[in-house]
Symmetry: C2
Subunit: 103 residues, 2 copies
DNA sequence: AAGTTATGTGACCCGAAGGTCACATGTCAA
DNA sequence: TTGACATGTGACCTTCGGGTCACATAACTT
């Protein structure tokens, strides 16, 4: 599950699904500079990690983002008390900068 | 930074630091079934990822957990609206189970 | 100064993961 | 049913990352 997040291509796939859910394999493939097979492998990893959930419809396979595992990562190393400090800090930072691009 | 979380040994190191901060290399080494060199490599990766912050004191090097990058992962794929749903869901789950061990 | 302790560096080995391809199955449409 | 489309499988290659070791520097102790 952590290994699933280790690859930049897979993170980009999550970004795509975060922007718009329910896309199919070929739809996602068109956004990447890679063979269909590569994308398929990555989606499989994400699926096995529980980060992506799948719904079949005929010959098509639609992919959806699952936020739960991400939250579990968060909760593993940030307790309720620290969370308040960190969110406050980051909210302040975003307030000061007002433009943000990550990674 | 995501690759830093991909390795189970490094996650265990974060767990150790989450339990108690400021430990030194040899202290952490004693908790693992590995050579000092292996642990050193892992700590270096965690440090470069910003997940661990370091304070030198003489010949000793103390390691501290930094929660900010973890929170950034969270914020990347969970918006404020979804966050409420997910936390509510997980709080409910923890309430029902009442015993929890992860990974 | 000398020995011990804490940490650092470079090279090396090996298994795992990313990527592609030939080939294959299942499904829609005419 | 025939062809086109969407997805799946296994083998293969190559690069990368985890782990160890020989060797090295720096600091505390007596």
């Amino acid at each position: 599950m952590f290994k699933a997040l280790a690859d930049p291509t897979r993170r980009f796939l999550l970004d795509l699904l975060f922007a718009r859910d329910g896309r199919t394999l070929t739809e996602l493939e068109s956004e990447l500079e890679m063979t269909r097979f590569g994308v398929m492998k990555h989606l499989r990893v994400l699926e096995e990690a529980g980060l992506v959930v799948v719904r079949r419809s005929g010959r098509e396979k639609h992919h959806f983002l699952n936020p739960v595992p991400i939250r579990l990562i968060h909760d593993r190393w940030i307790d309720k008390y620290t969370e308040r400090q960190v969110t406050a800090l980051l909210d302040l930072k975003n307030e000061l900068e007002k433009d943000h691009d990550r990674d």
